[in-house]
């Protein structure tokens, strides 16, 4: 067993800060790495040590495995935590860490490789007896073979690139006449994106629910799950809201899916924290979709209902400790919801809206947690993801959790960039969400009401005009007489004036 005393976090943004928080609680020193654009980022300020690793684009900084390992060796870090994204599911990086005597906080390179390739993941799951979406078990190499397979499985089907990810090389086929042209375009996109035109075919599950199970495995052959997360509220195949327990879940189904999730982890001898994603149809049939061999963005809701710090578990497992609790001891208490706050213009097709944070007021109060990294005056870089924070609430039951989330979103004020806050608040008010009766088509289905023009409270436009006018007059005053003896025309200003005076 090797005690970890110093961890390098090979990531940025909220997740880097999130990991460092746990390190601090465990008395582990933290090392941040940063690109040109991130010199002023919160994770650099929070860490005990910070090192520059390259220019702003992630391909020249956060994805530079050798550079990061070099920094880790130079500062004598015992371990590297990859967070999510960037190098977190990169088998070569995991291998290089081990070769250099650094603990990679995550699974072995073999597991990452096996689960990273979609076809080998499917085969592994079939062998372990875990239900998978009906479809091919090996990649389809020719067009004719693809068409024959599709006819065999029956429409509708999804054609996906074997080497794929991020929605590239993916086509939904619903009509027979489109088969040839869509197979062709999927293959050519796969070729141009991944240099490999092999595809595989899966039955398309109409209006599926996206439900995933959190699993943990230690180095001593113990595996358990920490219940489910419902992640069906998505746009552009990206999650926006997650909750646990899932409103669709029954106790029987939870036990069954949980057992399969544990089987899946056992099948690859998984170590650390991982996630088994399932598709669930309205008749509660479930199918293995993929395994994420890293910490998920939405892990806090699981932490909230189980009371277990997942990052701490990752570190303990990496040190070689056996899990300290059993499946029977785990409880799901109350209800937790997470909303992802993106810097995006919801009225403009979710176009990214980077910029400078002028003002930020984060929600507080009972049952609220925010995992963020931006602060006043911080300029969100254009090079990385548009997620600026995650808002997590917990309450005794689902209804109360929704009301609390609405309250927290009301309190959340970010100016300077456009955010998804208003859109998320609308979702909390949508009947389909409130009743828990929703699937992955939720946003598309409720688009009109979610994007309807807001009706401003009576006279609020006029109030905005008044505020602007007063601001303008103030600016004029500043420009004309800056050294007035008693400039305060209102009490807030008087206070500042006094403060400045006291400082003299």
């Amino acid at each position: 067993m090797k005690k970890i005393n110093k961890i390098l976090i090979a990531n940025r943004g909220e997740i880097a800060v999130r990991i460092m928080r746990t390190c601090r609680e465990m008395g582990i020193s933290t090392v941040a790495v940063f690109s040109d654009a991130d010199r002023t980022s919160m994770h650099v300020r929070y860490a005990d040590e910070a090192y520059h690793i390259g220019p702003s684009p992630s391909s020249e900084s956060y994805l530079k495995a050798d550079k990061i390992i070099e920094v880790a060796k130079k500062c004598n870090a015992d371990a590297i935590h990859p967070g999510y994204g960037f190098l977190s599911e990169n088998a070569a990086f995991s291998r290089k860490c081990t070769e250099n005597g650094i603990i990679f906080i995550g699974p072995t390179p073999e597991v990452i490789e096996k689960m990273g390739d979609k076809i080998s993941a499917r085969l592994t799951m079939i062998a372990a007896g875990v239900p998978v979406v009906p479809g091919t078990t090996e990649s389809v190499k020719t067009e004719k073979e693809a068409i024959d397979t599709i006819m065999e499985i029956g429409l509708p089907v999804m054609v996906k690139a074997s080497a794929g990810g991020g929605g590239k090389g993916m086509r939904l086929i619903t009509e027979e006449k489109d088969i040839t042209s869509l197979v062709r375009s999927a293959r050519s996109e796969a070729k141009s994106s991944f240099g490999n035109d092999s595809v595989y075919v899966e039955k398309y599950i109409t209006s599926p629910h996206h439900i995933e199970f959190q699993v943990l495995g230690d180095q001593h052959g113990n595996f358990l799950h920490l219940f489910e997360r419902e992640c069906s509220v998505q746009r552009r195949h990206q999650k926006m809201i997650e909750e646990t327990p899932s409103p669709l879940m029954t106790p029987e189904l939870r036990v069954k899916m949980g057992e399969y999730a544990v089987e899946a982890a056992r099948a690859v001898n998984y170590t650390g924290a991982g996630t088994i994603e399932f598709l669930v149809d309205n008749d509660l049939n479930f199918y293995f979709l993929e395994m994420n061999t890293r910490l998920q963005v939405e892990h806090p809701i699981t932490e909230r209902v189980t009371g277990i710090d997942l990052v701490k578990q990752q570190i303990l497992i990496a040190e070689g400790h056996p899990l300290k609790f059993s499946q029977e001891q785990l409880r799901q208490t109350g209800h937790a919801i997470e909303c992802r706050i993106y810097a995006e213009d919801t009225d403009n097709n979710f176009m990214p809206n980077p910029g400078k944070i002028y003002n930020i007021t984060q929600p507080l109060g009972l049952g609220v947690r925010t995992d963020g990294y931006v602060y006043e005056g911080y300029e969100i870089p254009i090079y990385y993801d548009s997620m600026i924070s995650k808002l997590i609430v917990w309450a005794e039951n689902r209804t109360e959790a929704i009301e609390r989330m609405k309250r927290a979103l009301y309190e959340y004020k970010i100016t300077g960039v456009k955010t998804t806050i208003k859109f998320l608040e609308r979702i909390m008010e949508t009947p389909d969400f409130r009743s828990g009766n929703y699937d992955t088509n939720f946003i598309e289905k409720n688009k009109d009401s979610l994007l309807a023009a807001t009706k401003c409270a009576e006279n609020c436009e006029d109030m905005v005009i008044i505020a602007t006018y007063i601001e303008y007059l103030d600016q004029l005053n500043i420009a004309q007489t800056s050294k007035e003896m008693y400039p305060a025309k209102n009490r807030w200003k008087k206070y500042t004036y006094q403060k400045n005076f006291e400082r003299l």
């Binding site: 002028y358 100016t415 109030m463 601001e471 009490r491």
Partner: protein, 169 residues
């Protein structure tokens, strides 16, 4: 002294009738409001009008006298039109035309591709420039038929919000 303030497409005239410290009697178009207004240097406004509480945050824009206001649910673009800006406006009346003949970036980002060069004939709807921001690429298309007059940026350069990128004639 009455001043005009442009909020999105609406132009309203505003005038302070009475003021006692933070209590104001103020006229917006033909409506008169008695408000209790407090604000700090960071542009956070708390206005009480007729018992209702309004929380408004103003962010000054790079252009002088331009602001973005954030209320509970909305954001508005505002411009103060005083004597000075009215004068400038009249003098550069032609500049209004610019927006139809040019492409400006709606957000900061990085230029990925410019498939056209100066002098090229383009049709309305042709892609003139691709900008990437936060892992997403957006294509900007020509608003008119015409000829590329000036290209202000080059591939790989970073751009600011509202920066003029390409002008067409």
């Amino acid at each position: 002294m009455s001043i005009e303030i442009k909020l999105d497409k609406r132009i309203a005239s505003v005038e302070i009738l009475k003021q006692f410290e933070n209590l104001l009697e103020i006229k917006v178009d033909d409506k008169i409001y008695q408000v209790d207004l407090m604000h700090n240097d960071e542009g956070i406004f708390s206005i009480l009008s007729n018992g209702r509480s309004f929380n408004i945050e103003l962010v000054p824009q790079p252009k002088p006298k331009h602001y973005t206001a954030y209320t509970l649910y909305d954001s508005y673009d505002l411009e103060v039109i005083d004597a000075e800006s009215r004068y400038l406006r009249n003098r550069t009346g032609g500049a209004q035309m610019l927006s139809e003949n040019s492409i400006t970036s709606p957000m900061p980002g990085k230029v990925v591709k410019i498939p056209v060069s100066v002098g090229d004939e383009v049709k309305k709807g042709d892609t003139l420039i691709t900008i990437s921001a936060m892992k997403m690429e957006s294509e900007y298309k020509s608003p008119i038929d015409g000829k590329i007059a000036i290209i202000h940026v080059s591939e790989g350069s970073t751009v600011d919000a509202n920066q003029v990128l390409i002008e067409i004639e």
